[in-house]
């Protein structure tokens, strides 16, 4: 049986202001160039704790709850690592990491527990760091791997950010690989962000990211999104997910 083709999303009809509104791209880049992306308070969504199955999204009307979010992915920035010398319970929550990496190869910061409070940050090779070894936090790693997923919500002119934790990396990478396999790019299609329940070997229930393709943009809309994405990506090489927002971890 032939597959039913889904209608392509055209400029002016996509529901995404960044494509539909002629000035949106210029306004966004202007805002970032003036304020810097790192210092800009991007809207954030978080993977809910304790196996929650709905997204909480801040909007002008307050907090909205959604089962799924149809988004336009703008950029993915992987190879991020963060390590806190104190646990969340001991005050590590809401503070910048003690050491972090933006390339997964070298971390910058103080990566020892007994360091002087005024110790100068150093460049640390991640592969040799004890906190980056499995077994440094139970069976897992004390240094947390994550990716940054930048996306537009329907109607949005400024991208939102999802910090994708290690437990959801496989889902994100698997989705992008599926798109590559199908000859698609993530900027060229609408993606559904959902949540799935999972359980660790020790019986802890948690949520993981689930991504699925919704439909393609038409060629003009796709070309516009690629342009927006290239402009954005050139501005996030030094993006620090934990510097601007104190409740990110």
């Amino acid at each position: 049986m032939a597959k039913q083709e889904k209608a392509l999303a055209k400029i002016g009809e996509t529901g995404y202001a960044i494509i539909d509104a002629p000035e949106a791209h210029e306004v966004m880049i202007g805002a970032f160039d003036q304020l810097g992306v790192s210092d800009f308070q991007l809207g954030r969504i978080k993977i809910p704790a304790g196996g929650g199955m709905a997204w909480e999204v801040e909007s002008l009307e307050g907090t909205e709850v959604h089962q799924d979010l149809d988004v336009l992915i703008l950029a993915v920035k992987g190879n991020q690592k963060s390590w806190w010398s104190t646990s969340m319970e001991e005050g590590g929550g809401g503070t910048p990491p003690s050491c972090s990496s933006k390339d997964g190869v070298f971390g910058f910061g103080v990566n020892t527990l007994d360091a002087d409070p005024d110790a100068a940050p150093t460049k640390n090779r991640c592969s040799e760091c004890p906190w980056n070894q499995f077994g440094s936090a139970g069976a897992g790693k004390a240094c947390k791997d994550h990716s940054l997923l930048f996306f537009f919500r329907e109607g949005g002119r400024i991208p939102s950010l999802l910090v994708v934790p290690a437990t959801s990396q496989k889902a994100l990478q698997g989705f992008v690989l599926k798109l590559i396999d199908a000859g698609k790019r993530f900027e060229g299609c609408i993606t559904k962000l959902s949540l799935k329940k999972a359980q660790s070997q020790s019986g802890i229930t948690y949520s993981t990211l689930d991504l699925s393709w919704v439909r393609d943009l038409d060629e003009d809309a796709k070309a516009k999104m690629v342009e927006v994405s290239n402009d954005f990506r050139s501005r996030i090489s030094d993006f620090d997910a934990f510097a601007a927002n104190d409740d990110a971890n």
């Binding site: 950029a75 993915v76 920035k77 992987g78 190879n79 390339d103 997964g104 190869v105 991640c126 592969s127 791997d145 990716s147 994100l172 990478q173 992008v176 690989l177 798109l179 590559i180 396999d181 790019r185 993530f186 070997q201």
Partner: protein
Amino acid sequence: MNMEIVRRFAELTAEKKKAEERLRAIKDEMGALEPAVLSELVENQVDRMPMTTNDGDRITIFIHKQAWARPVDGDKEAVVRTLKRCGLSDLVSESYNANSLSAYVRERLADGQSLQPTLKEVIRVDEVTSIRGKRSPLSAESQTAKAMRNQRG
């Protein structure tokens, strides 16, 4: 005595050990870099990247996906039982570990014990001669030497 070939053998032994150490270090570094490279390819939405190294070698880095069946919680025995039960016994082969068996035989004979008659019927104990080299001094008598001496009585 032809010292030339003995020296060459010693040189090759040293070279082999260095090459093995280097290979181990290369594998360790590649293992550490692999997640970062995968992430780079995903981030840039490319599944292969042909490139030329500084030494002029042309290498294509690509994402290779292959499904591997692994036992849940490492319970290999449960997989074997299930395979037999659901008509997939062709995938199960009973075998033994040749290194462990040889070590057991060496140890038993070295201790002056003979092999169990039923085991003696099905295995043959051969002394395999080879030349090896090592950096540390040799022990007075190896397990094999002791085993073969005791077997000869």
